[in-house]
Amino acid sequence: MPGTSTAITALDIGAVTGAVRADRDDTVAMLRRHLPAGTSPEAVMLIPAPGQVVGLHGPAGMGLTRLGLSLVAGATEGAVACVDVRGWLCPLAAWEVGIDPDRLVVVRCDDPVTWGRVVAGLLDGMGAVYAEVPHRMREAPLRTLASAVRSKGTPLVLNPLSGTLPGGLAQLRLEGRHITWEGTGVGHGRLLRRRLVLEASGKSVKGMTRIIEVEDHGADALRVVPGLGAAPTGYAAG
């Protein structure tokens, strides 16, 4: 498989927990077992590995909720928890990106104090956690969460409702730069697919900032558009 070696190279094996660090082949095999059938090899780079935090950044409407759900769908075959701060999350989108209704649990929590304890608790027993981060969240509980993710090995995708996550918290930082929808015209057609341009940075992409374009046409929410996601634009600061 030509794409496989690229995907394996792109994985930050070092970010995986210490217990599995030694056995690279086992780790890669384990990660690939969790991927839903049909996931493109390029998308493996985006799927959070065990013990990894992914941070999403961008305004509402940039497609980050659906992207976050796609990431947790690919990260585990077990139960997925979505922490919904506003009470706006629509499970239809989660089902469409591959999370089976039987393994989806939605937890509504808008209190910033309880939020940290809720997410930390969910890391214990769920396969992966997608969490919206409430407004005015302090840095300390987020740092505590990141260390809990490393020790428990459950992937966590954070989508802050305002502001950005503290630097260095997420191994992979995905910022929505541009979104294009196709299928609609002037009073005809319907939304069919979208193209989302992301800027990826962090340890998972070896500290280099990369521009990735993801196409979501319903069946595969994480199809990386080939040939466009490679150009490194420089080294990340810090």
Binding site: V105, M126, G127, T184
Partner: protein, 487 residues
């Protein structure tokens, strides 16, 4: 024998006022007479009970303290009838065949039991005698004032309401089908019950026939008892309970290897002073690790407390040996999905129970697809620990005018006013926060016919695409509302 108010026999229960005890699953586990007069019953949801009787005082059940308080009652009954089985604090079952022969007849035995337990706890008990535990339990529930002795289980059960099965959903379905008594359930062909309701229907049919002693599914030749010895003796309840839970895990793993799970477990503890105490615990469903671990903890707490505070036989000097012996094995284990890991499932369950404790049970939710035109209508929400009900809208129905996939990832909890500038019926630009974004393309309108008989207006739905994202909105009564964000 059953005390309906056992969990309320504590100092902080207000005398003369309606009160209820609430279990960990937010259901009523005990009510006093004043609350029962309002119609509050055991098994009801807390909210439902509080709606019926707004002045009711709700207390959180403490099973460990209740088990400690119940131990003297069990010990007193055990002096008259050996091999007593504890179902829960406040309820016990006793096999009376031998004792009836010894004391002459049922009424003589019941009279002695009543005298004995009234000397320990006073009144408030209900006693039912029947051939099987289910019928005895139902008889005890009906035995207000004086004990009820059932001559023939099947004819007694025939007149009972289907709610006696203790399965709310199934009882509701039966009622919907016009089946209101257990006699009507028993008259149905067993094969039809199994084909319509599965194993739950089979259980209900067996209970309606008075066949609640489940036979062993197969011969299990090996001794499945598990045992642990402690040196130095365990005298701390938390440590003892922790070990008890680990032992419960071992026992269920052993029985699970033989494809069975126990309905009854004998808990046996030997103290450092050489005394051996044993007690049988029974459950209506096969034990799992959590329920069995709880019962071991309650029993050890009762014995340790008895020895420490009341200088009774208890287990003085701590526990040196703990043994669990399974009985009434059943092949009714929970069938896991092919990819499901039992340990992981238990962890998930524990995690979600803790999450419920943090945010409240109504905020930990599961979802199921159902039919509908709008994205919000196509999701059936239910509390995580509730058994999912049948979808209220048929998913297979055509639903003309339904908003097609992909669905919006965010749906405001209520339609939010959305400023759209229209030009000749076509959207020109939309206001997002403080700025106006030009509309790049749009689709629609898809008309949703409102329920005119309820005064609901018709609405036209549009998909609007801007450079900042795509939105689903609806226009009704001349105003535009945001109903979804394709985030």
């Amino acid at each position: 024998m059953w005390y309906p108010d056992w969990a309320l026999r504590r100092p902080d229960t207000p005398p003369g006022e309606p009160a209820q005890a609430i279990g960990a699953d937010h259901k009523v586990v005990a009510v006093n007479g004043a609350a029962a007069a309002f119609g509050v019953t055991v098994g009801m949801r807390r909210r439902q009970a509080e709606a019926i009787c707004p002045a009711i005082r709700s207390l959180t059940s403490d099973p460990t303290a209740e088990a400690i308080g119940f131990e003297p009652v069990v010990a007193a009954v055990e002096k008259l009838i050996p091999r007593v089985e504890v179902v829960q604090p406040g309820m016990l079952l006793a096999p009376v065949t031998g004792a009836v022969r010894y004391y002459g007849d049922e009424w003589a035995l019941v009279g002695r039991v009543v005298d004995t337990i009234e000397a320990v706890t006073g009144s408030g008990h209900r006693i039912g005698l029947a051939a099987g535990p289910f019928a005895a339990r139902c008889a005890a529930e009906l035995a207000v004032g004086e004990p009820l002795v059932v001559e023939d289980d099947r004819s007694f059960l025939r007149s009972l309401d289907v709610a006696s099965l203790g399965r709310e959903e199934l009882a509701a379905t039966f009622r919907w089908l016009g089946i209101t008594t257990l006699g009507q359930v028993a008259d149905l062909p067993r094969q039809a019950m199994v084909s319509r309701f599965g194993s739950e229907g089979l259980d209900a049919h067996r209970l309606a026939h008075g066949e609640d002693r489940r036979p062993q599914p197969r011969e299990v030749p090996v001794d499945l008892a598990v045992e642990e010895r402690f040196e130095p003796p365990l005298d701390n309840l938390d440590r003892a309970a922790f070990v008890g839970r680990a032992l419960a895990h071992r026992l269920l793993t052993e029985t699970g290897r033989h494809g069975s799970t126990p309905f009854r477990v004998l808990v046996e503890a030997e103290s450092a002073s050489g005394t051996t105490r044993s007690r049988i615990w029974r459950n209506a469903d096969p034990f799992d690790e959590s329920t069995l671990g709880d019962r071991i903890r309650w029993q050890l707490a009762a014995w340790l407390d008895e020895a420490r505070l009341h200088h009774g036989p208890g287990i003085g000097g701590g526990v040196v040996r703990l043994r669990l012996v399974p009985a009434d094995l059943s092949d009714q284990g929970r069938q896991l999905a092919l990819h499901e890991d039992a340990r992981r499932a238990a962890e998930t369950h524990r995690t979600l129970v803790q999450t419920q404790a943090l945010v409240g049970p109504d905020r930990v939710l599961t979802t199921r697809p159902q039919g509908g035109r709008d994205p919000g209508d196509r999701v059936q929400w239910s509390r995580w620990d509730d058994r999912p009900t049948a979808p209220s809208r048929d998913q297979a129905a055509p639903w003309p005018g339904a908003v097609p996939a992909p669905s919006p990832a965010l749906i405001p909890d209520k339609p939010t006013p959305f400023e759209v500038e229209w030009d000749g019926g076509m959207p020109e630009r939309v206001r997002l926060g403080s700025r106006w974004e030009p509309v790049l393309s749009w689709a629609g309108p898809w008309r949703r016919m409102g329920r005119w008989w309820e005064g609901e207006p018709h609405a036209d739905r549009y998909q609007i695409v801007t450079s900042a994202g795509a939105f689903l909105c609806e226009v009704r009564d001349g105003a535009t509302y945001l109903t979804g964000i394709y985030d």
